[in-house]
Symmetry: C2
Subunit: 385 residues, 2 copies
Amino acid sequence: MPDEILDDISHRRYNPLTGSWLLVSPHRTKRPWQGQQEEPSKAKLPDHDPQCYLCPGNKRAQGDSNPYYQNTFAFINDYSAVKEEQQAYEPAVSSDDVSSLLLRAQPVIGRCYVLTFSAKHNVTLADMTAPEILPVIQTWTRFYASHLSPTHPLRAQAARVLESIPANPDGEVDPPARQLRYMQIFENKGAAMGCSNPHPHCQIWTTSSLPEEPAKEQVQLAQYRAEHGRHMLADYAKLEMEKGERVVWQNDGFLVVCPWWAVWPFEVLIIAKRHVRALVDLTDDERLQLAKAIQEVTRRYDDLFETSFPYSSGIHQAPLDCSEEEAETSWFHMHFYPPLLRSATVRKFLVGYEMLAEPQRDITPEQAAARLRDSGSKLHRKLGN
Amino acid sequence: MPDEILDDISHRRYNPLTGSWLLVSPHRTKRPWQGQQEEPSKAKLPDHDPQCYLCPGNKRAQGDSNPYYQNTFAFINDYSAVKEEQQAYEPAVSSDDVSSLLLRAQPVIGRCYVLTFSAKHNVTLADMTAPEILPVIQTWTRFYASHLSPTHPLRAQAARVLESIPANPDGEVDPPARQLRYMQIFENKGAAMGCSNPHPHCQIWTTSSLPEEPAKEQVQLAQYRAEHGRHMLADYAKLEMEKGERVVWQNDGFLVVCPWWAVWPFEVLIIAKRHVRALVDLTDDERLQLAKAIQEVTRRYDDLFETSFPYSSGIHQAPLDCSEEEAETSWFHMHFYPPLLRSATVRKFLVGYEMLAEPQRDITPEQAAARLRDSGSKLHRKLGN
Ligand SMILES: O=P(O)(O)O[C@H]1O[C@H](CO)[C@@H](O)[C@H](O)[C@H]1O
Ligand SMILES: O=P(O)(O)O[C@H]1O[C@H](CO)[C@@H](O)[C@H](O)[C@H]1O
């Protein structure tokens, strides 16, 4: 049995989604920890905080007032990482000039949004039921649809969801005049993940460029398809369902696994079981199934170390502006990157060796999946599910 | 003037060493910070701590006692990330089996060392003079030399340094019987970088595999050489000396720059000015010059926010076991990745967008270099240099 030996030897695993390797050291969790301790997240927050710039009715940094919204509320980030209007810049490129080889830049324009998940200041996705998470997914879907290029291969699907999903005026912002290339939906949860406000929210950054990670994945997914005539994530989901040892949870629409190539201790991947290219491909029923999958992941996380589990998560799907081929290659999935390793206060640091040489993990993804499978019962009971 | 505009627009920059892009948002530092605060490093530590497993004469976790060493002291990590002896594992590979495409693993063997910089518990490289840092570089050099493959293109240089640099029995460990491929020397400094012990030390991980980061660099360096007939880092160092705006400091042997493609706010690269392939290529004089460069970087860091500045740093050089071609392609350099952004307590988080999409930085490398050029005078005065 070649797999069990991997519980005991140091080895590398290959990530076919990004084409890179990581180091796995299953024997290494025994070492004592004398380093930095995270603060366990503060237990008691009010359900409305007058100081919070995201709570309904409050004032934001730049002076705007938030509406008295019900669940999702979207606005343009007051401190966007990309500008929408800026001076034009055409980098000089000459193939024999050292400057244009080694000091390469390209302008990026775009727009960054903030989107709340709930009007309540003191809940997280883990505390919300699937029907409560559904409006978040509906808002994501309408957001994506409204930002899609008019010549996009999924424009018919976009039109359909914009008609069928009820609009929520607080959760919508008209797209910018200029068509952008990619929309990254992501959540930073918890102080350990640089999140500066506990009010449940995500960010949506749209840019004129295709960022590195989805670009790498597109290359890998396209290559696999060209070589094997099948979708990598279809093959992968099927394989994991057969094997079972890395599966955390599943329903008809989605598979939740600790991927073979997980870097973070309890890293999780939610994979669409059928060929969903982007949010607009999801049926009504699948949106609720995705809500359920997100709820399962986040509750199991919270339950694992009995803390509000920090993580960064995000969706990869078809670009906003893309060819038929690129859309076909895309396969909807959602990554969760949580830093905790051993308890609510001891995290994994990806530092010296990881930055200079190669990502390194301690427990195996199989061990992590087993713990997440067992997890969740306490909180489920508490919430009456 | 195409460069100044980059102070004002959002743009991407290309890292030719790894072949990847990052997002630069120079306008973004204005946002308020309400997130996690780092603990400023504790000011007063004893120069010998009876609880420290690195101090001279103390007992380590596994029961060994440390010698009463003078400066450097090396030992095999009690909790190595790679094993030296382990069961053999030959992964099955078949080109049409989905398992062997998507669940790929390879065994890694190796050995991890810990190496102290000083017998004193309460100093850091920033507090040490160049002559005090020199023994560290000598130890690194002898370590690298003693672990080199017997057929290595640099074996004559290795023999020379093993003869000319005085041996320090406390700072040496016999290499393992099996020849390894790569040696990664790195330091995690400060609790923010997962360092569990303030006693000044680095780690040296040697593995049977070439890790991802140096592997990517090798590919990029080799390709540049093939295309342009010159070394990328020779061209780059020359270009930066001409431009000046990203230069922090230099001496005859080494250039210290905030590289064009820096991801971390005050990221620094020390580049050898001539073609140094690995530590064993350095002359006596160059080792002292490298000590001086490291001292300049670390003191400027500490001075910048008047704190013991956290960072991870590490050396990239020729693999321990490599071809003539690989050795020729290698160009000695040292990376510093420090997380602080705005003060001793406010760091940059590379989280959601960075993990899911693309690294993002706020201040430009040119702004960072200007601040590091201006920095260092207070501590220099304090230490009488
Ligand atoms: O071995 P240490 O210093 O305890 O561990 C530290 O550095 C290692 C190498 O970068 C990391 O893998 C660990 O996560 C980190 O805590
Ligand atoms: O915009 P926020 O939430 O304040 O900022 C947080 O997320 C961003 C996107 O991952 C990061 O660039 C910041 O470093 C982090 O603090």
